[in-house]
């Protein structure tokens, strides 16, 4: 319980410090003040990739172990992945409108593939909502989660596979093409967003597990149909 509050506090503090750094570094020569949007955009996209990777791994772990907590982690992670993908798309469109002069460009492979990934995981969540039986839901969702995760590397490498408008990665193992102030703000935000993801996934997983326990208890307490129907009792003969 105590560690939960410590992690939540760290996430809030990290987020606040990340935003402070993002707001305080000098503007970029090309992107001007709009460069600050990229700190939220990149961190959201990173967390979305992480979340969908966790969904796949937790789903496969469910298939291997049949421990329902794995399925609950997969579900929680997918929900957060969809939220952060939406945030990455939105901030990308705001940035694109300011820097490219248009919010959406079909020449940008990363944008189109991210939007598709968003819809695939909307479908994943819709599938989970459609199935009541926990075991069938977990089995089908884990398989879909594994298939859907194949898109993640495609989205990530789309900027190098196709000629596209989207900027290529500024942080590579061999080179960093970013001023130090921006780099520190970017890395701080990446860490803070990751922490936020971990905290929310833990909360949501616990919530889903509690819901599952309550549903199972309700189901076991429900009387089978017919039990309440009793034969009429005849009154005493007069």
């Amino acid at each position: 319980m105590k560690s939960r509050y410590i992690f939540s506090g760290l996430a809030v503090a990290g987020l606040a410090y990340g935003f402070f750094l993002a707001a305080s570094h000098p503007p970029d020569q090309l992107q001007l003040e709009f460069v600050r949007i990229s700190h939220v955009h990149v961190a959201s996209a990173w967390v979305a990739f992480l979340a969908f990777g966790v969904t796949m791994i937790a789903g496969l772990a469910w298939l291997a172990t049949k421990r329902f907590v794995m399925d609950h982690i997969a579900a929680a992670s997918a929900e957060l992945g969809v939220f952060f993908t939406g945030l990455a798309l939105l901030t990308g469109m705001i940035w694109g409108d300011a820097v490219w002069g248009r919010a959406w460009d079909w020449g940008d492979a990363r944008m189109a593939s991210t939007a598709l990934m968003f819809f695939v995981y909307i479908g994943y969540l819709a599938l989970r909502r459609s199935i009541l039986d926990p075991e069938i839901r977990a089995r089908r969702a884990s398989i879909l989660g594994a298939v859907a995760a194949l898109q993640v590397p495609l989205v990530y490498f789309s900027v190098t596979l196709w000629r596209t408008l989207h900027p290529t990665p500024s942080i590579r193992p061999d080179d960093v093409t970013m001023p130090t102030g921006q780099l520190v703000a970017m890395l701080t935000n990446l860490a803070a967003f990751t922490l936020v993801y971990v905290v929310f996934t833990t909360w949501r997983t616990r919530q889903i597990s509690t819901e599952a326990i309550l549903e199972a208890r309700d189901a076991s307490e429900l009387a089978p149909a017919g039990r309440t129907i009793e034969p009429p009792t005849l009154g005493p003969a007069t």
Partner: protein, 221 residues
């Protein structure tokens, strides 16, 4: 009965059931052709515009209407249960579903091509044999993705809405290289790279379908 014997019998059963119900030939295919009629009505009367979008329309209609064909209702829940209880290999059932859907999708394409040519008059790309190969790969890939989505959504009340939501974004790795291949042929370029991307996508989906067939059958009981 051998694996391929099971596949052969199931394909025959699938196509015979389809022949009797007419779901694909009387509903899905006419609806797809109707869509090709409706699109020009919503656009300005500009033959150059129609000529330029004709090829793209073919792929979009094949994808959108073809996917509804791949999870057609002709295999009822009772049939699925019976086949499972007979001890039919789930992989054979998946393979049969993919083969029968591919055959129906090829028939659909054979009707769509002349319709697009007549209505949109697109510039015919040279190298029809290569393009036919790409169409075959797209049909095979779409059949495999549709087969997977059909299994994942089997027995669900909202299946007719949910399955397209799953198939449409997952089939984009087929649509984009297929359209690129057609464009490359028009500009007399090579279709090797888009054809290879399509081929790897198809193989990837088939491998996933084979690996998950047993789990999905257990989940749909």
């Amino acid at each position: 009965m051998s694996f391929w014997g099971q596949v052969r019998e199931l394909v025959k059963k699938d196509l015979r059931t389809e022949g009797r119900s007419g779901e694909v030939f009387l509903v899905t295919i006419p609806f797809g052709v109707l869509a090709l009629f409706l699109i020009p009505l919503a656009l300005p009367n500009d033959q150059d515009l129609l000529r330029s979008i004709g090829g793209g329309m073919f792929w979009v209609v094949l994808l959108l209407f073809g996917m509804t064909l791949t999870f057609r209702h002709s295999e009822s829940g009772a049939q699925r249960m019976l086949i499972a209880m007979l001890g039919v290999d789930p992989v054979a059932r998946f393979a049969a579903r993919v083969i029968s859907s591919t055959a129906l999708l090829l028939a659909f394409s054979a009707i769509l091509v002349p319709t697009v040519v007549v209505l949109y008059q697109p510039v015919a790309p040279p190298g029809w044999p290569q393009l036919s190969l790409v169409v075959l790969l797209v049909c095979l890939g779409l059949a495999a993705i549709g087969g997977l989505a059909g299994e994942v959504t089997a027995g669900l009340q909202n299946r007719t809405v949910l399955a397209p939501l799953l198939v449409a974004p997952l089939s984009v790795p087929l649509l984009v290289p297929a359209a690129q291949a057609a464009n490359s042929l028009s500009s007399e370029g090579s279709i090797l790279v888009p054809a290879l991307i399509t081929l790897f996508t198809v193989l990837g989906v088939i491998v996933i379908g084979v690996l998950t067939a047993r789990s999905l059958e257990e989940a749909s009981r």
